[in-house]
Symmetry: D2
Subunit: 394 residues, 4 copies
């Protein structure tokens, strides 16, 4: 086999009791969340509201080894019942279309249950602010699955920037290009496409909400800087599409840093092309999601170095969360699972009334609010023909 | 997110009861097996012989949520006790150094328990033949974790070759180069290195046994051809090393196909560089383990096409076992988990007395025997200064 | 060696008599022009104004095998003398800093001598328009060395777009990133840096003029579309720098096509990173200058194909101008030489009073005018905080 | 443009008078030699024996601007006439099929004319030894165009090995794979294929002579080590082919270094795939001809560095012979031209009775002899079923 041992066992050894809302048969992201929860053996799925149809809810639950009495058809009923059980769920994963995040998160938080929620947070600034307030009020853990921030080499990049490896930053180039909406697949009923291109469910933005928010979050996450203003030009290239499917954005960050952000779902030849490049006075970094195990670092005056996850010059921030040695590719699921693993540490600490041992950089409800500001800022700027729109400070 | 839904749930919904022998704290491959078993929720780990020290066995078991009475210190005791329990394990995973595979596999097979065993199978041809006989006699499932054959694009390559996309094959180039043994790490006590370079535990071969067997299996697995003869030149470059750490081999396959196989663990700049290239009258294929989601196919007279897992021209053999859409990288753990998923189908069918629904191409005890023949053939050829040595037909 | 023969000899067999202005010892681009002129044996360098210092002019001329009486110290004297000689130069190459292009080009055109001129054309719109008028009036050939348009795979991309391989275009992403000005090298006297960052010589723009114009030209050249408006955000990151060293631009093209253009000379880890990506309804193209022999083409619904220069699916537009078969890399000099070869065909035809046999897509004085409009549009937009600025139709 | 100036002018400024034998219209390698000779302006082509047919010889000569009286139809007549002229050629380039190299080289050497000759040197060991003796006897310069040794990053690799960057070498992997002979193109009359697959012209070996010798030369050139023994398995995959089109070879070098060499012309998906990897105690190098401007260097314990030609960590051996700054790709022709440039230095020095200023590592007649030994050693080993064959020390 190979050289390193997989990372050591987590400090706290209890499996958290997990519930899931949404994510029934055929759902893409629900299955991903479940694998992510299982990977490190920190969760046990014990309850779900997988369908509003009783028959289908029970069948889906059986498929997932849920007890029949914990297969709910209504999320409010589930929150109430689980809160009342002595063995009720510790945490719920919300994996529905965007417009349902707000009422669901609210219901579970009010029932005293920690929340892991898919992105984007919610569809309006008002909802986002209300959720921020509720999380603060309840003191519960709220984790937003900006899963790309769980990739070890993204953590490495963040650590390198923080440690000054790039010196003062100058330029951030973020792009996230896909091609699966290059034709009007929503008109043929493709389930993933239908709700994402429907304003009543997906919100005011299409590609910007679906993938642009990931790129935005990652740019801020890695750079440690806040975007202060943006100027956006949105397009809907596919005839009949009601939301944007392509976006070009000029970005201004704190400290005079500049950049662009490009999000697209209509560019044939790209697949899940999330790429982040950062350039500073002392060096540059280049990372591509489709080759997530390597990070290219070029110090000023030196050749480019290919830093491999868990290999030479891989920092503890990346190596310690690696499950495999270098050369054994980890991927999307492991990055997603990292969010779950870090969330488990935090939730377990909360349940036991102690500090989480190491404060992993998990995306929070506040990051969700920023994402909603970003979405609305972009839409507003584009409506005003790419006028500059300021983003509020967090 | 993205376009496809993750693959549908498996036909049979029961979790198999899994035991593990070896794989205690600090073990690399034990942790990998456990994640692989968990990924698709087809197994539940319920028993283990994780250490011969009672204290450590219990601690390691607690870490893995095992009941105290199922934390064994002796594999024979475990086989007997589990076979006697009504809720005893269905299958055991053997994840120890090579020299223990034989007695352990024998014990569990004789106790009527299915076996998943790490590679290489055993250290001698005699042991391998005895195991083959025992598996046939008991009718139990025996799966060898040549995990790289679980990668979707390896399954794709195999399917393309079988379908004639390359025409009659001509050349197979297999290489597996690492660098983690470039220095005498075994002398500093690195646990993974120590037993692999110790003939009493690793067997007659070093790199050939550890990684050469993977490359050999993959070459035969993808090509559908058997190696008939080989001529090998082995080296031990690192002073004091007792087994080979580099091997160059001329290969002859059925039907006049020729190739080379290179295995090394001392080549700085390679990491886990398993690469397979096949060339035929009508086209060529190129796959590299470190970028496992793509397969390069060049038809005669056409440009090279980059086929992505679950993307255009991805065959059902690859797409149907994908957990994620194209562009969302899967890696080593998913490939390993595929072996476990396919094994679960087969074992569940055996337990229920029916045929496994689709006969996935799982590595078997017979493949293990071939691997042992390969190891001994290589060592013999090298002793005779790279004379040709025939491999027996399977 | 290999399979194809190099491309056949050009139709017209005469060597053009070439003069050069600028490009004395230590000049980068002068040496490039000379190699480009020599490569296909269509020119003979016979005269030059390589320095205003008589001693240095003669020494530099001797180095280049010029006769002493054709080593001039003044471009006007050179234009007059050469025009008067029966064996005077047919064509002059102008390879000086930008601010000298206008008077020099004017002098040679007025003397009836064809011109090959480095880019950008001139520093002001007025000069550019005057040159356009003069070229039209004289009927002489004027070629602008937007050399990247001479790369075979750029010609291929242009031909594919024109033939509809991408369908209706949607998005054009152009980027040209370098890092050689990441520090204030101009303050240490680096010759190439000094004049490029000096407004009196480089003009109103820095990186935009030096490399942004290449990216702009290429985007229009390949797409066949005109940019109609742009919104630009310019920066001068290096303290003390007087011109832009980084530029982010939103681009709007004819037919609703959108894009961005990024030019930078301060991004460590990029070298000469000119990349062009085009996406249309039916497919996408991706080309990178540092790997110029391949073009990635992804048809809608198919895998990406790596089209190699002179290999399968290489069109006549690329193969016919290849000097080498596929796999034998051509580079920057060959692309530059293509401009010279095409210019030779055109000039020879003009000298002989006939049509140039195939009308190669050479960059003209009108392209130079567009580049100047682009530069001034970008600068104006940035001054107005990234307001949209229209570009005039050509 | 960019940062560096092109390399400075050579010390000696005279153009050598060059003759060419072979290389008439349609010849591939003749055109390459001519461009290589022109690139740095160190040669003037003044005479040729381009065809044995007077009409065609004159037409071809006119195409190349040769005076009619220097268009010969017979190489012996040319050697005699040119030797007799006061302005006769200084050096001849021999660019014919292999079997003609010997009589031609002999004729020109005997006439006192320096020789640049294509590879492989000749077809038999006897001829090779005779040529070595003749070159020594005459004291003339004899350069063999193992052109790949002219690539800057190959020179860099050689210098790094010599300087100990890899420590003591262990493994050398050389491969040169093409696909242009994957079908029986010689049967359709393809000129390049016909003579290469004809034993009376190509010699005893096919792919081994045509491209294997390049890989062999490069392995020794870069490593500074001599191959001492080899064991080869040759194939002729294409029905009707009379010479090998694929070869797998086990290699043993001085100092216990081991390797393989693979040469093939039938592997679809490879193009001109010459790759060289060297591994030593302290690091590894990886170079691929199709991306010749970069060299990957991995020091033991560090990440892989991508060293770019003329970029950071590019040594003088590479930077000083670069015509362009990093990021501006040089290719095959520039590498070939380097051989010509170095040859010009050496020949000019010889003509002027002085030492060549820096002794560039040019391939010599002795290297040619080694190549012939290699060819015959491979063929003999393969005839004896891959028995070990020793190569004589040089």
């Amino acid at each position: 086999m190979s050289q390193n041992s997989a990372s050591s066992a987590p400090a706290s050894r209890r499996r958290l009791r997990l519930g899931m809302v949404g994510g029934g048969p055929g759902a893409f992201i629900g299955a991903v969340h479940r694998i992510a929860a299982r990977l490190d053996d920190r969760y046990e799925l014990v309850a779900g509201a997988l369908s509003s149809d009783p028959e289908r809810a029970r069948a889906a639950g059986a498929e997932l080894f849920l007890a029949p009495d914990r297969c709910y058809t209504d999320f409010r009923a589930m929150a109430a019942a689980e809160a009342a059980r002595p063995d009720g769920i510790d945490v719920v994963a919300i994996v529905t279309p965007n417009h349902l995040h707000y009422p669901m998160a609210t219901a579970f938080l009010e029932a005293g249950i920690h929340v892991i929620c898919d992105k984007p947070l919610v569809n309006t600034v008002e909802e986002a602010e209300a959720l921020v307030a509720l999380v603060r009020e309840t003191g519960l853990v709220f984790v937003l699955t900006h899963n790309y921030s769980g990739y070890p080499m993204i953590r490495q990049a963040r650590a390198m920037v923080a440690a000054g490896a790039l010196g003062a930053l100058r330029v951030i180039q973020a792009e996230y290009a896909q091609d699966w909406l290059a034709t009007a697949v929503e008109q043929s009923g493709q389930k993933q496409a239908v709700w994402r291109t429907d304003p009543t469910r997906g919100g005011v933005a299409g590609s910007i909400g679906d993938i642009g928010t990931h790129a935005f979050h990652l740019a801020e996450f890695v750079s440690g800087l806040r975007c202060t203003a943006l100027a956006a030009d949105l397009q809907s290239f596919v005839p009949g599409r009601r939301l944007d499917d392509n976006a070009h954005i000029l970005m201004r960050y704190e400290s005079g840093v500049r950049g662009t952000l490009w999000a697209s779902q209509v560019c044939t030849g790209t697949t899940n092309g999330l790429r982040l490049r950062l350039f500073g006075e002392a060096g540059g970094l280049d990372w591509h999601q489709e080759q997530p195990n390597e990070l290219r670092f070029t110090p000023l005056g030196g050749p480019t170095r290919i830093i491999q996850r868990a290999g030479p010059e891989s920092l503890p921030e990346a190596t310690d969360i690696s499950r495999l040695p270098a050369g054994h590719p980890e991927g999307y699921l492991e990055g997603f699972a990292q969010i779950y693993r870090d969330a488990a540490d935090r939730i377990a600490a909360a349940l036991e009334g102690r500090q989480a041992p190491t404060e992993a950089p998990l995306p929070t409800v506040e990051d969700g609010l920023r994402g909603v500001h970003f979405i609305h800022g972009v839409v507003e700027s584009s409506r005003r023909d790419a006028a500059w729109v300021s983003l509020p400070a967090p």
